[in-house]
Each structure stands twice: as structure tokens, then as C-alpha cells.
Symmetry: C2
Subunit: 424 residues, 2 copies
């Protein structure tokens, strides 16, 4: 009796060639994060339930995988931000601040497995954490990092940037009266593509009587337009002005970096979008979202923003921060299923060494050793099978270069069929 | 009210500088595995309980973390071999055979957290899986791989090699009568350092009347000695002869590789040890263990061997294989706590760019960008703090090279204090 081998629904497991593509993407992310000076952090998968859920409520709470062991209540991490908060609160005395860390790891959520939703998926996070304060200049680093990563992935993307303080200040400036809560207005802006245009107008007019001003505001797409709007309406609200100043710093850094670029990539890639407003109860300043222009309906593939206090669940010390997260498992799923990205031609090895017959197996091993000492990735056929079967194996591996070991060495290009003598 | 931030007992979480050391070790392992032509496999952390425990019993079963979600019973992987078996059984039709895969991932076991035992720890596995058959020549690859990895880690180690068929054949040749089960004898050999010498002799004599022959046999430490023993006692047992032949192939490959080495590392590192016998119910041929010569009491840090049938829990097809596993979390713990290995001087960045004053922040950003485009890892101080505080940050990061951006660029070596003009 055998058990049917299977994996659970909502869990991703790749074929060897898809795994190569996945690893290439992850490698781009990790290499870039490291280049920008982030430390690697590796927190446990399993945490103490009470600690992990210290500040989590509602839907997230229900999705968390939990179990007990004796008296110990445990839970699997559902994101990488809570473990970071816990880590900073535990270790802040020995950490350098601003503390820049990256973590690329699986997180776990028992949510419904609709199309493109996974229960176990990679998040690739970077955050910069300050102690007590953190200059807004750090917010300006993220568009460059995001841009560099997705350029390297050859994606057609757009980074959308907004500022929560600007949104709040706008509402405070234009609302009917002080009973209008900016959060409600921002929530409604966020929903505007999900409801009918006239319903949006009716409901919005309750909050902002000058509906056309709001409409104009959320249509602004660059800093020049925003400055013009600000001066035309003589806006003076303090939250608005701080938000405006922060956006100015973020976009000036994009321009600053661009000056040393041949192509004006960044300013094309990074756009002001005053209608995005994610993470209402968490983010307090800059907000980032990243959409794939070829499939915007998939939503943001890399989001984040500025928050005032990372670790308030664990300490009274204040740790403001700014960060982003790339949902790699979901991005990979979109690339494969929507954008039909083919798995790379890159084989996992550079050479397959084939002994012409059994008498050449030892020599083949020495050839492989020599190539490996030159840092090539090499496999050797050691089965006592005929030459045809050895080439069948080469084809299954999709290897490009085969070395046949006989009285001499022959290098065969498996794509062109070309063969020539080879010397080590 | 805040929750006390903490992690669970038996879980490893490292400081940033220890993490750099840990990552260096993992990188050595992964790079070497890739160089030897292994595919990367990444299986889910959470598996279907019934599938994961299809063939597991006893103690392991008790240690597995399990939980339910609706009707679905789930479990966390406790090793990387069972998921490999499940993967091969599911996908064998599309895989190339021999299928060489590596997986470096955390596994989870709720065991007692004695000294050096972890509940969440990294295993670094490679296996070569055949379909129906797998030549013993593949067994011969592993000592070279193990040797290369631990040489790169600068460890003082010894690889010990044995063969289960040889052990079984020896018992069959020298046992009192056929009622003696080779397994019992091998079990007793395995325990001989844990019991008194005279007790060992008394019990062993029940199985093998010629106790001195057994003693001589398990003391043999090279192939020459084994051949001499074999011919002197005119051994003809078929299991013994197959085991002898397999060992010969494994050791001849070690010699073969050695010929192209300047230093005779491998033959010094790899030793025949006829008294090791791990994984009694699983391994059927070659066995490997690796001990640290400076702390042999820690036991094997890299073990494995040949098995006849990987996926019998899931399929009637036969998949023989051979593999090893490095327990990286435990190895790291030994290095730190026993061998007092210092965390590396390697900083996570190559340069820290410091703007002399606030007017130089933009220029500092451009310098960082230029260095990153040359693939250096770079951080920039963007806080509006004085120069002294910026250097305090540099010291906390333990960075070796600082670039001060003023009207010119100055490169400062933080160890020597030396400073000189720098051009990009």
C-alpha cells in the first residue's frame, strides 16, 4: 500500500527549470538589497503566539497557522514586519541606527486560495528603521531600489508614489466641516474604481463639497502639477505642507539619481499618484505601489511606505521606519500565468562531461574536477550506458555544452550540433 | 501595555555580524553543490500530514509539528528526504535520471532542546536518485564534495566511510550460526563506545565467537588493510564481496581526484572506518560520516549514504539513491560555542559614503550610485547629524572604508586611519 504523493492546495512547488527562473528573480532582489547596504536578517518561522499576535487583529489573526506543544502556544509568521519589530525591540541596544535590514523568506497565511493567492509565499522585504527619528531622505531611496530590481527583471512597470500627510491635509483643507474624518474620505478615494461614478460623486460631495477640486487633485500626476495646484488654491494646511515637502524630497532624489543616468528611466518609471492610499492604519507618510503596466489588474507587486512606530507592541521606545515588500511568489505566478514568461534557457550547469566509454569514466571525473576548479558548474555521466543514452540525458538536462572524453576532448554545442576539439 | 519581545527556546536567531558568518558558510555549501551539478529544489514547509508521515513512526512522529485547518491535517517538514521522495514520486515522468538535487532549508522538530539541539534548523542536502538502478560510481562523488566544502570552511575534519553490505557480509561469514541477525551485531558495534569493554566482548562473543577477528576487522583503517584481511581469511561471502567492491570504487575515485591535486588532501581527509553504521533501517551500501577532529564528541556534522528505495511510501517504482546532509545550524553552533570562531571581519558593505555636511547629501547619493553600478555594496548616511555622529555610525557598522564627500572625495581606511583622495 502506498500513499498518494501530493502537496496541499495553495502551496507552490516548481519544476527544476521553473525553479531556475524563480531563483534568478530572487537573486536579482537579494543582490540589489545588499548593494544598497541592507543587513540580512533571518528570523524563526515559528514564533511565540502571544508575541506574534501582540498587535494583530481581525482577518489576519484568523489566517495565522497556530498550534501548541505542551504549554507553549506557537504560530507561523504571517509577514516579515512583525518579526522585524520584535527583533528591533529585543536587540535595539546593540543595533546600529538607522538599521537597514533585508529579509527574503516564506510567510504563511491560511487564507482562501483564489487565483493567485498562496498560503505559503515569499516576501522580500527591506526596511530602514530609525531610533526616535528617521530623516525623510531615506524614503527617497526606495524608488531607486525598486526601479533597479524590476529593470533587471525586464518588466514593464510603474512605481506610484503618494503621501498620506498630503492626503489628510487636503481633506482638512477642503472638507465640509471638522466632523468629516480624513480616513473616511481616503477610504472612499481608494474604493472609487469599485463603485459607480455617480455614487462616488454623491458620497464624496458629503465630505468635500467642491467635488471638482477633489477630482482635479487626485488626477495630478507630477510635482509641477501639484505645486501649481497648491499655489492656485493657496493651501496652507500644515499636514498638507509637510506631505508636499516630503514628496518634494522623494522626487528630487529621483531626479538627482537620474542626472547620472544616460536614460531617464527613473522619472518615467516613478509617478505621483494622489489616489493611492494603502495600509490606512499603519502608514503615515510616503506610500509606494508598483504595478505591471501589462497587467495592472493584478494590483501592486511591490508596496510599502513610511510608518511612525514599528515596535509599539513590544516597547515604549519609538522606532519610525520606511520599507517595501515584494511578493515574489505572486509575481512569479503572474509572470508565468499572465505574461507567459518562458522558463529561462539557462541550464543549471555549464558543462555535461560524457565519457565516450567506460574506460574513460575516471578521465571524465578529472576533466570535471578541472572545470569545477575554474568555477564552472559541471555534471558527469557515470552510468554504464551507451553513448546514445548519455546524449538523451544531456537533452533532458537541456544543457548547452557537452564535453566528450575520448582519446581527446571534444566540445559539442547542443544547439548548433557543432563539435570541436577542446583543451583544458 | 506592551508584550515582552522574545523568541522560543530551541530557535536560532543571529546578530547581524553572526548572520554574515552563517551566510558565508551557507554560501560555500550552496556554491559547491551547484558546481557539482545539482538542481535546486524548494519544497513547501507545510505538507499534508498523511503524506509526510506515510512511512514515519516512533520518535520522529512524536517530534513532528502538526495542526489542522478545517478538514485538512497539515504538518511541518522534519527533514528534506521525505519531501524529496514525495517530489520524485509525483514528478518522475518529467525528471532527468540520475536526478541530482540540492535543498538547503529549515526543518522542524519539537524535540528536547538539550545543548546544541534545535527545534528549527537548516539541513543542506544533496541526493542523486536513479530510476530502477544507480551506479555505485555516484557514491564516489560525495567524499570530494564534502572535502571541498569543509576545506573552504577551514575546518579540521575527517570523512569516515563504511559500507553496510560489507558489515552484513562480515557477520554472515563469522557469526556463530544463522540465527544471529547481522542487524543486532551491527547495533552492538555501534554502541561499543557507550558500554564497558568486557561487556562488549561478552555480548559480542555470543554473536561472533572469534572476537579477536571482529576486533581486528573494525580496526582496519585503509583499503590495503582490508584487502589483506579479506585474503588472509579467504572471505567469500557475496554481500561482503559486493561491499568490498563498492568501497574499492569509492576510494579509487578519491585517489583519482587526488592525482590532479597538488596537495594530497582527499586521501588524508577520507578514512575507512568499519565501525560506523548509521541509519540501520535505511542505508544499504556506502555510509559517510564527518567528524570535527577538534571536537569529535560533537558527532557527525555531515552524514549520509546509499539507500535502495527512496519513494517506496508513495510508489511501486524503484528509486535507489545516495545522498548526504550537512546540519548547518548545529555546525554553526559548534563553531561558535566550542571552537570559538570569531564572527568575520567582513562587513555587509564595502563602502559607507558620508556627506561632509547637509549640502553634500545629493552628491553623496550620486557617489553611492556610481559605486553600486560597479557592484559594490554601499550605504550612505542621510541623517542631518554632525560629522562625529556619522563616524560613530561607521564604527557601529564595522565598515572598513568610508568615503567623505566634500569639495573632493576622501577615502578613509577605518582600521589604519589613513586617508587619501579618491576618484571615481
Amino acid at each position: 500500500m502506498t500513499t498518494k504523493p501530493r502537496i496541499l492546495k495553495g502551496f507552490m512547488e516548481l519544476s527544476p527549470s521553473d525553479q531556475i527562473l524563480f531563483d534568478n528573480l530572487m537573486n536579482i532582489i537579494e543582490t540589489t538589497y545588499k548593494k544598497y547596504g541592507f543587513y540580512h536578517l533571518n528570523t524563526p518561522v515559528i514564533e511565540c503566539e502571544e508575541v506574534l499576535l501582540a498587535k494583530t487583529g481581525g482577518d489576519t489573526n484568523k489566517e495565522v497557522y497556530r498550534f501548541s506543544r505542551g504549554d507553549t502556544k506557537m504560530a507561523l509568521r504571517f509577514d516579515l514586519t512583525v518579526p522585524l519589530a520584535r527583533y528591533v525591540a529585543m536587540n535595539h541596544k546593540s543595533l546600529p541606527f538607522p538599521f537597514k535590514r533585508y529579509q527574503i523568506d516564506k510567510v504563511f497565511r491560511g487564507e482562501n486560495t483564489q487565483r493567485g493567492r498562496f498560503r505559503e509565499f515569499y516576501q522580500c522585504d527591506i526596511d530602514i528603521i530609525g531610533s526616535e527619528t528617521l530623516d525623510v531622505a531615506y524614503d527617497a531611496e526606495f524608488p531607486n531600489i525598486i526601479c533597479e530590481i524590476f529593470e533587471l527583471m525586464n518588466l514593464n512597470f510603474q512605481i506610484q508614489i503618494n503621501n498620506r500627510k498630503l492626503l489628510v491635509g487636503f481633506v482638512e483643507q477642503f472638507r465640509k466641516d471638522e466632523s468629516v474624518n480624513p480616513i473616511d474620505v481616503i477610504n472612499l478615494i481608494d474604493k472609487r474604481n469599485k463603485i459607480k461614478a455617480n455614487e462616488f460623486q454623491t458620497r464624496m460631495t458629503e465630505y468635500i463639497p467642491a467635488f471638482e477640486v477633489l477630482n482635479e487633485f487626485i488626477s495630478i500626476s507630477d510635482m509641477r502639477g501639484l505645486f501649481e495646484f497648491t499655489s492656485r488654491f493657496e493651501i496652507t494646511n500644515p499636514n498638507y505642507m509637510i506631505g508636499l515637502h516630503e514628496l518634494e524630497i522623494v522626487f528630487s532624489e529621483i531626479t538627482n539619481q537620474e542626472r547620472s543616468d544616460c536614460v531617464l528611466k527613473h522619472s518615467v518609471r516613478s509617478k505621483l499618484n494622489l489616489s493611492i492610499s494603502r495600509g490606512l492604519d499603519y502608514y503615515t507618510g510616503t506610500i509606494y505601489e508598483t504595478i505591471l503596466l501589462d497587467s495592472p489588474e493584478c494590483g501592486s507587486i511591490c508596496s510599502g511606505g513610511r510608518y511612525d512606530n514599528l515596535a509599539s507592541a513590544y516597547t515604549n521606545s519609538k522606532f519610525p521606519g520606511v520599507g517595501i515588500s515584494i511578493g515574489l511568489t505572486r509575481l512569479f505566478d503572474i509572470l508565468k500565468s499572465k505574461l507567459k514568461v518562458e522558463s529561462t534557457d539557462n541550464c543549471h550547469i555549464d558543462f555535461l562531461v560524457i565519457p565516450f566509454d567506460d574506460s574513460k569514466i575516471n578521465e571524465a571525473g578529472r576533466v570535471a574536477k578541472e572545470l569545477r576548479s575554474q568555477n564552472f558548474k559541471v555534471d558527469v555521466v557515470k552510468e554504464h550506458i551507451n553513448l546514445k543514452s548519455k546524449f538523451k540525458y544531456a537533452n533532458k538536462l537541456k544543457v548547452n555544452r557537452v564535453i566528450i572524453v575520448n582519446s581527446d576532448l571534444q566540445l559539442k554545442d547542443m544547439k548548433t550540433g557543432e563539435q570541436l576539439e577542446f583543451r583544458l
